[in-house]
Amino acid sequence: MFSKILIANRGEIALRIARTCRELGIRTVIAHSAADKDSLPVAYADESLQVGPAAPRRSYLNSAAIVEAALQAGAQAIHPGYGFLSEDPDFAEICEANGIAFIGPCASLMARLGDKAEARKMAAEAGLPVLPGSPAATRGADEALQAADEVGYPVMIKAAAGGGGRGMAIVRRRQDLPSVYARTQADAQAIFGDPRLYLERYLERTRHLEVQVIGDSFGNTVHLGVRDCSVQRRRQKLIEESPAPGIPAPLAERMGKAAADAARYVGYTGAGTYEFLLDSDHQFYFIEVNCRIQVEHPVTEMVTGLDLVREQILIAAGRPASLTQPDVQIRGVSMECRVNAEDPARDFAPAPGTIAEFAVPGGPFTRIETHGRVGLVVPPYYDSLLAKAVVWAPDRDQAIARMERVLGEFLVRGPGITTTTGFLRQVLANPLFLAGAHTTAMVDQMLDKQATVGQ
């Protein structure tokens, strides 16, 4: 087992990882930017090393400095959290080359799954249903037009190197394709440094479901239930829950098994997520694999009782996963709300600032993951996630009532600071959401309506 792990991340996930390390008796060293030197995760970790300035490119994305930090500190492993370098195969490779365990799947597999066109091909090979689309990355707008003609409009154009809801665009009419293609290509180049695009049939009114899997190096691959992440604003998740509401158990089981089989097919190790779209006929289609721990992992933990970060670490250390498929029992319902430092009144613009008053909710079946504290300077350089409110309850109605109670207990005040708790409570009260009948379109429709009413 590792005796020291370097955490190459910040915010709530850095603290989350440090907590599990502490429970495992593993020392932690956190590699942080100058902007985060006074942060709670840095204070919490046993050691800290400042790797670079606030700008992520020179700190949290600075592979060389982070690996150097791990070597300096004598860490045997690096946990990358989510975002930043967590799905960067080059980083995983540098770790491997320097004898440091990267806590995640191996670099080569991550490279293949990170190419979304390639991942889609592998998923199809493993028997997962995929949407009709181009068989691989297209070699230009002409090839894309041809593929689109075959699958039928509307289509979604996606960056092969994309993910996380960025680098994609919908084309509804043939004549729009060339210009959208060109624009998306430029975006893909700008965001991911890779202009390759592929396309798929676009489905209206879908739900975003995903299956958490873990695989160890002994061939044991387990699925841990289905999460529903359909509450999204412009493809950014706001509320997640598990199990997925209204999904019959046999369908959830079929999706879970399909994901686990696909993960086993590619020899996946560590924790990963198979993302799917579910259409109104309850047909599911593979979208992509996330080769990291996800923001919303706690809802799976709450219903399974498993500490997923612990599993990641055990598996990276060559240990077997803690359980096999028959051990997995989903109990009750868990829900997570992302409390962001954003201003819903200003189109969810980031609202960084300094926290002057801070109180976290508590009580029964309530879990708060946050790096917030009085005096925290929420910096403008990083994402705006300030806290995750997670609840558990025996059923969905109680979970919603509990979440409503919990969001009401949040106190976050300070110059410049605004949070999304109020907006989240509006979503909780939406009849579509209450009925579990919402699609990924719900939030944007709510906002459009508010904008219209506001005019």
Binding site: A34, E47, S48, V51, A64, E68, A69
Partner: protein, 176 residues
């Protein structure tokens, strides 16, 4: 958020060592025997006094290179109202630091065995290279951002450094 606080991080192994080296360097560069010498480890201080030079005057003048606590952020902190670094020494002998531009390994010389970029007592120009920080074979030059005289080298050659760590203490307008 720890009731029984975890032990504070151990001082970088080289802290007292490097103070000592700095002091030795300063003594080397001075032609006269000092009247008083003070090192300090935790707050990083080097203090040396020489007998007054001017004929007809008695007593001592002091050339102080009080090291500020290391690790002050070198980035502008737009959101914070806190000054990034303690106010520098007032008067003529304003102290300043050259910080590590990244985490890595600090080298005083262009290559092993060659002469260091700077010695204590050297005058440096703005932009003058005073060291190297190496990360995974990538060499980042360390440069002074304003003119001054090198007062102390705070970090040993080939020692690991953090981003923002003070490497070299300088005095803007050195006193005779």
């Amino acid at each position: 958020m720890n009731d029984s606080q975890p032990d504070p991080p151990a001082p970088r192994p080289s802290a007292l060592d490097s103070l000592c080296r700095s002091a030795l360097a300063l003594l080397d560069s001075a032609s006269r025997t000092p009247s008083r010498l003070r090192l300090e480890s935790d707050g990083s201080s080097v203090e040396i006094e020489w007998p007054a030079q001017e004929p007809g005057r008695s007593g001592t003048t002091s050339q102080t290179a009080a090291m500020l606590p290391p690790g002050g952020p070198s980035e502008p902190q737009p959101a914070a109202g806190v000054p990034a670094e303690p106010a520098e020494g007032q008067g003529d002998a304003a102290e300043f630091y050259v910080h590590a531009p990244t985490l890595g390994t600090f080298y005083r010389s262009p290559e092993p065995g060659s002469a260091p970029f700077v010695q204590v007592g050297d005058l440096v120009e703005a932009g003058k290279q005073v060291g190297i920080v190496e990360v995974m074979k990538l060499m980042t030059p360390v440069e002074a951002d304003r003119p001054g005289r090198v007062a102390a080298i705070l970090v040993a050659d080939a020692a690991p450094v953090e981003h923002g760590q003070p490497l070299i203490a300088c005095v803007s307008h050195p006193q005779p």
